[in-house]
Amino acid sequence: MIPAKKVLNTLNEHWSVLELLFKRFKMTDFSVKDVQNIIKHKNPQWTSERIFRETNRLLNQEIIIPLAKSSQLEINRAVADFASFLLQEEHLGLAQEITVLVKDLERLGNRLEQAADEGDQSELRRFSRIMDERVRKIIKLFLHNENAIFNIVEQAKSDSSSISLQKRYRAVIEAFDEYIEPMLEMVDIRGEFHACFNVIENQLSQQIDDIELYGRGAQDKRMLEQLRTRILDMHLVGRESLRKSADMLMPLREELRRNSLITRQASKVLAMIRKNGVDPMLSPVQPEFVSDIQRFSLGQQRHMVAYMAGLAEFEHDEYQLPDQSDVPAYQSPHIPDYADVKKSFSNTGKTKIALLGFLTGHYPDLDADELLFLYQKLISDEALELAQDEQRVTVNIAEHDFSLYPFNASTKIEHTNDNN
């Protein structure tokens, strides 16, 4: 057995060496030579004999211990834990670790109840002590993990541009997926933890009530109360710690997601550009700038002044839009009413008459297209009996020459007209 005081003294004396060893080798092994080099580095004035002696001292006091069946060394686990606690160099634990402890807590709670039912005071005290221990351990784990996450975040944020983004954030993503998410699920108000704690709390409350009722083992009441408080507190601490951790990790996770999105999009778009060419690909999406037209439309001082004057005199007047219902029907100014045309055509009384001749004769003022419009209206009127000429005729309508097979009225015009 090595006296604790002696070990502490050595630790104190060689702390800088141990710190470096711990940081450099983390959890891996190292050789005697490494240790001697570090001692030499930290104490350059020491003779090699002294360095040898100090190395032996570390070995003798089991601060560094040899690996099994090898000449390599490692830091004593207990010392490493202590150092990691002191240096806050904590590694993220597993969500399962906490789950197992909570499950165990549930088991112990049942044993405690059993002991209370049997009136076995010493058992009751023993289980209560063990539970207390477990609760402390869980709280410690929560805080430990919170620190670890803090470290992860710090590391991810610290700008070491040599590592790729993916690598830099890998720890963050892992921490999130493997610790925060399962833990949040369990700590959730309807999660496993809550149910478990409810059971334990009920058991403890029941026992406290019993003690109050029967007055048996009054000295244990305080202990149980303390345990109950501690468990409730643990639940609270856990939630708080997880929330804090999630808050720390979330922005980084978002950042990574956004960045990988942009990167992916950029390579996708560039691939499309390579395939389809720059102009067709980018034209629909490129941001537009103010065009030259806009640039020249304004910008000189007098333009500004004119606009400002216009603005100053501007009066907001409601413009009355016409109603849809009372718009007058469109009437061409030149074309006479078709009914009139038809009537006068029928009233000519001639049996066989050239339609076009009639139109040009009666309406000499109309343009060619207007005459043709009336012509096609007349020939498509079923009330008139018309027949098409066999011969191609060239006619002059309003100074334009047309060649066509004209329609002519047949003999029955009068009769149809009478019917009208």
Binding site: R258, N259, L261, A266, V269, I273, E288, V290, Q294, G299
Partner: protein, 183 residues
């Protein structure tokens, strides 16, 4: 209705001149920026009445939005877009955080040379054949548009570059499908 008090808009002339030429006013143009920041309502109403659309982007810049640009401006815009997209890819390939790198890392002639060499066939389409072409045709124009500023270490991209990043994110499969059909 917003009351426009012209006596308060002391920088109107400078702001109009800058904005109408397509310039993006960002925080580096301290005086103009502050003017716009304080009287954004009045400026917006004024420019609206003049037929412009003065936009304020929350990421820190003002510009006149436009639906179309002249062919020449369009070409410049495409060149800038291509350069920025390639830059993002370049930074990502180097394992850097592209969004951070684009604002932090100055673009010097050496970087431009590399970009042009690596993406020769793309830049060829825009008649950019060398790093100095890129500097002349893209970066100097970016300065004129308020998208970048020149320092002794190279060109620093400014916040309005976000317009291009937005544009990048806008490209989706529907645009792409349309293109496929056209081809």
């Amino acid at each position: 209705m917003t009351t426009i008090n012209l006596t308060e808009l002391t920088e109107l002339q400078a702001i109009n001149k800058k904005l109408a030429s397509g310039y993006h006013i960002s925080e580096q143009d301290t005086t103009l920026w502050q003017q716009l920041d304080q009287n954004i309502g009045a400026y917006q109403a004024l420019f609206n009445a003049l037929g412009h659309d003065l936009q304020h982007d929350a990421r820190g810049f003002y510009y006149l939005a436009s639906d179309e640009s002249t062919p020449n401006m369009g070409k410049i815009s495409r060149a800038i877009a291509l350069t920025l997209f390639i830059l993002i890819e370049h930074f990502a390939n180097q394992g850097k955080d592209p969004l951070r790198a684009i604002f932090d890392e100055p673009a010097d002639l050496e970087l431009m040379q590399t970009l042009v060499q690596l993406n020769k066939h793309l830049f060829d389409q825009l008649e950019i054949f060398s790093g100095s072409d890129l500097r002349k045709d893209v970066y100097l124009r970016m300065i004129r548009l308020g998208l970048a500023k020149e320092t002794e270490r190279g060109f620093i991209h400014l916040a309005p570059v976000y317009r291009y990043i937005d544009a990048l994110m806008e490209v989706n499969d529907t645009n792409f499908d349309g293109l496929e059909e056209e081809v």
